[in-house]
């Protein structure tokens, strides 16, 4: 089975969290409010609010973004 076509909304948000320091600061302070306008499913929104990068990745979040968003990303072990 081929890899699925990439999921847009979740990755767009990850990209802007990486590249927009103001959004990132608002997200760190109050994640639910910061992403209120994002077009996310309930599961995606819950994962962002919980800061659960593994779940975000499993839901289609691009690995290199998940690993490299300053102060939010997780670098993975090994």
């Amino acid at each position: 089975m081929e890899p699925p076509v990439s999921r847009y909304a979740i990755n767009s948000l990850l990209y802007h969290l990486k590249k927009d320091p103001d959004l990132r600061a608002r997200f760190i302070k109050d994640p639910r409010t910061a992403i209120a306008d994002a077009d996310l499913t309930d599961a995606e929104r819950a994962a962002f609010v919980a800061g659960d990068m593994r779940k975000i990745n499993e839901l289609g979040g691009y690995l290199h973004l998940v690993m490299s968003i300053p102060k939010i990303g997780t670098h993975g072990g090994h």
Partner: protein, 281 residues
């Protein structure tokens, strides 16, 4: 008549601190060994007196956001800037000590682009895309303090599905070889990334590699058997964490049927580090 006078491929996070943090002392030792091998490749590159250096690599969602992800993109213009990331972490931090601007080989980039469009390769172009560690870590490691020749950065979409096929990447490399052959320039060529790491792009599988698969790829490159590589599927590359081998496929198309000499291969839990050079006559 122009010629590709140097061809090399290598992993593209070349930083002892990164691997110290990710893999401990063994990570540092192995990446330093890989970097030494790549610097030696730089000695041979300098001897060729190449007038330009094509670098085939992937973007990590630094140059292109999700507003557009080109299958292949030629970075044209006169200069290119390195990617800037505030509060950079992980592989982005690798860039911080590197020069901020690099010259481009404008005429060669334009030739690859224009002749591509004339010959069935619907290439994207960019005057503004910055380049990240995938381009600059190998270039700076290979050349160190020596002058960096004008670059032609070529982006391949290695990660964002659906990607170009391995066969199409190879064909694009053949196109590049034809363009260089018709040009007046001696040109070097690098492909970067890999080998196996981050299978399925899942955080839960960071720390796994597929060494059996990598050794199969290496054997085919050493013997110049490129035909089996053309049939590598997106599924194989995804499951084995070999997404970035698409960059290598472009280079292979450009220099086929040349045989590879492995300058370094080192297994780590996080990635198999590699540096390979081709004998070009």
């Amino acid at each position: 008549m122009g010629k590709i006078v140097f061809a090399g491929a290598m992993s593209h996070v070349l930083d002892p601190e990164y691997y110290q943090a990710a893999c401990g002392d063994v990570g540092r030792q192995k990446v330093v060994a890989a970097m030494d091998a790549i610097a030696s490749m730089g000695d041979r590159f300098v001897e060729t007196k190449a007038e330009g250096l094509i670098v085939v690599a992937d973007d990590h969602m630094n140059a292109f956001s999700f507003n557009c992800v080109p299958a292949f993109c030629v970075r044209i213009g006169r200069t290119v800037q390195r990617m800037v990331q505030d509060s950079a972490e992980a592989f982005d931090k690798v860039l911080e000590h590197m020069p901020e601007e690099y010259p481009l080989h404008e005429a060669l980039g334009n030739s690859i682009l224009e002749q591509g469009l004339q010959n069935g390769f619907d290439l994207a172009l960019s005057w503004e895309a910055p380049v990240d560690h995938a381009f600059l870590s190998p270039v700076n490691t290979m050349l160190g303090k020596r002058p960096i020749p004008p670059l032609v950065p070529i982006f391949v979409n290695a990660f964002i599905a659906p990607q170009p096929t391995a066969r199409r990447c190879f064909q694009f490399g053949q196109h590049i070889a034809r363009v260089v052959a018709k040009s007046p320039w001696k040109v070097g060529m690098l492909a970067t990334g890999g080998l196996s790491h981050f299978p399925e792009l899942l955080l839960g599988r960071v720390g796994e590699t597929d060494t059996v698969f990598d050794r199969k790829l290496v054997r085919w490159m050493e013997t110049g058997e490129h035909e089996p590589l053309l049939d590598l599927s997106a599924d194989e590359l995804h499951k084995t964490g070999s997404h970035e081998f698409l960059n290598w496929m472009v280079l292979l198309g450009a220099i086929t049927p040349a045989r590879a000499d492995v300058r370094y291969f080192g297994e780590l839990p996080r990635i198999n580090l590699a540096a390979v050079e081709w004998s070009l006559r």
